[in-house]
């Protein structure tokens, strides 16, 4: 999977070194690569546009509501971010979210399982599915995109079979308070999901930049062959990242069921579009091992702002998808171009 992708993308240093005016541009270019400056400028621009266009856009209550939506979107894309960092692509995100959400509604709501048991069940099912994707991709060197697309269908199909497509119960009320817009966290005037997301930005930064495993993750994404040569266990990294991403996304599915007070087999569908768009618009590039969770959070905030503005202007689901698609192409054209054939001779 990864060797396909990464071998065609220029390493960032080589690209800037070849430019004639590299000396003058090196510092700003390095800054832009290191810190998500452009993303922040775009984010501020979107929110400025929103407050000019829509009345009440920048009111406290609307900002709180958008922060919850963006936090859920960012959390649902944490697994995808890590998978993209190691050069994969996980299209099974809607599957994990559906499994988590339906488990919360069916097992937690109808059958009154305790919450920890619902969580354990979700982690087990999604973790296994993710580990299977990682293992197949690593052992057979196939694209994770195709395997995860199949796995998504297996998971959602499994949910359809297991619930018999009947109407589902309502998840336990204790879940809803975690993502309720007006809730507080131990006295902090912000909903728990928002606080958790901010905490995870710091935690993933520490993990990715300051632990051996985190650095190995980047190394695997940047060049899997080189990573294997320096004895990084790329198989364990791939299986681990896919399994962790899947299990975590499943848990976010439980949160989403609590947020929307219900679940169905199509609960995960919107995250197929918006989750991937959040990661890529945030600037985490596929196959270049650049990016982190902070960028995904910025991407999620930007997209949430944009969709709020545009749905205020009366745009529907179809328009949102078109917007996501165009945004992805524009962003990838800006960061993720490969090398020319004549440069690869």
């Amino acid at each position: 999977m990864t060797d396909l992708v990464s071998s065609t993308v220029t390493p960032p240093t080589a690209a800037s070194g070849r430019e004639p005016n590299a000396g003058r541009l090196a510092r700003p270019a390095a800054l832009v690569r290191r810190f998500p400056i452009i993303q922040m400028v775009v984010l501020v621009a979107v929110y400025a546009w929103g407050s000019v266009r829509l009345e009440g856009f920048s009111s406290a209550s609307s900002l709180r509501a958008m922060s919850v939506l963006a936090a859920l979107l960012a959390l649902a894309s944490l697994g995808q971010t890590l998978v993209i960092l190691i050069g994969g692509l996980d299209l099974a995100v809607p599957g994990y979210i559906t499994v988590g959400a339906v488990a919360a509604a069916q097992l937690g709501g109808d059958r009154h399982w305790p919450l920890w048991l619902v969580c354990a069940f979700t982690v087990a099912v999604c973790g296994l599915a993710g580990a299977a994707i990682g293992a197949i991709c690593h052992l057979l060197r196939v694209q994770s995109l195709v395997v995860s697309l199949g796995m998504s269908s297996v998971l959602i199909g499994g949910v359809v079979v297991a619930t018999n497509a009947t109407t589902l119960g309502i998840p336990p009320a204790s879940l809803s308070s975690l993502s309720a817009v007006m809730s507080t966290t131990f006295g902090i005037p912000a909903p728990p999901v928002v606080v958790v997301t901010i905490g995870l930005v710091a935690a993933t930064w520490l993990f990715l930049s300051h632990t051996v495993t985190g650095r190995r993750l980047y190394a695997t994404g940047a060049n899997p062959l080189a990573a294997e040569e320096i004895l990084i266990p790329t198989g364990r990294i791939r299986i681990g990242v896919f399994a962790f991403g899947a299990a975590f996304t499943g848990l976010v599915g439980i949160l989403i069921a609590g947020f929307s007070s219900g679940a169905s087999v199509s609960t995960g569908d919107p995250y197929f579009y918006s989750g991937l768009a959040a990661v890529l618009v945030g600037g985490t590039a596929l196959g270049a091992a650049q990016g982190d969770f902070l960028r995904t959070v910025l991407g999620a905030l930007t997209l949430t702002g944009l969709t709020t503005i545009l749905s205020g202007a009366g745009l529907g689901e179809g328009d949102t998808r078109i917007l996501y698609g165009v945004a992805i192409i524009l962003v990838v054209l800006a960061y993720g171009r490969g090398r020319r054939l004549r440069d690869r001779l």
Binding site: L4, V5, T8, V9, L89, I136, L139, L140, R141, V142, Q143, L145, V146, V147, L149, G150, M151, S152, S153, V154, L155, I156, G157, G158, V160, V161, N164, A165, F272, Y273, L276, A277, L280, L286, G287, G316, E317, G318, D319, T320, R321, I322, L323, Y324, G325, V326, I328, I329, V332, L333, G336, R337, G338, R339, R340, L341, R342, R344, L345
Partner: protein, 337 residues
Amino acid sequence: MSTTHLPPTDVTSGKPGGRRYGFRRSFLRQPWTFSAILVAGLLAANLLAEHSILAPRYWPSLLGNLAPFVLVAFASTLPILGGGGGIDISVGPQATLTNCLLCAVLFPHGLGSPWVSIPLLLLVGAAVGVVNGLLVAFGRLQPVIVTLATFFVVSGLALRVSPGPAGLASGNWTESVAGRIGILPGGLVTIGVVALAWFGLSRTRVLRTLYAVGADDVAAFSAGVNVNAFRIGAYVASGVLATVAGIALTGVIQTSQPALAPTYSLVALAAVSLGGTSLLGGRGGLMGSFFGAVAIFLLQDLLAATGVPTSYVQLAYGLLLVAGVVLSGLTSRAKVS
């Protein structure tokens, strides 16, 4: 890539080649062997479950139902053969966009005549293919990301065009695509035209060059092949074929259903990988995708005939795709070692 070490016989269009080997040997060497055996097995199982399935009077409707599967599989084969990580995930939405345009725009606005609507739809399909191809070849973006983005855009367009289901009046020409065109079954015509075009191309240098590009693009480039033109051509062909699949699909379902898009992308990829086409490019062909699509169709038919609830279909599609990928990975690994 590993595919460059293969003997030239593997580069044929799926015809049993290599006169040095006997028939049995050359049959077993084809990439599509496994899917052909799978089709034979499933056909036997189908016959046991439901004796009448092969009665001639069912052929037109059987072939009509089969055609969308085979055509989307054909559509997604070409970019994969072109290599460089080439893949077209947007074939499903392209087929449903065609379906939605036909049902919700062309027919209601009096443009439903086949002489007007078919060229218009093919033009739309080719345009989407050109966009995909230009972004991959000249934008130098990864095909996965490009076609995923066009997946989003095209499925969004389909939703815009047809927010709710729009049905067709009975007696329209698309019914004959899923039934009979003249004396021939409609499904046979749509699949047959593509198969003939492929056979024709396999007699020319075009297809061989596509395989060369897929096997090693840098080598093909240094041999003077216009790699970008071949890649763009593959995406355009994919768009056109996905449009034909959308017309065939409309013949079967007779309403607009934008929600089918992911299913058809999935079926197409499953058929291609079951058919033994390497996802790394340069190896495989339409024959394998045909058998792969027939296998998926027969399995779905078998599930229905044996009374398995339709809720299992999605699960079965997913398992087939995973199985196909594992299989394609295992066989290409065996060839390498």
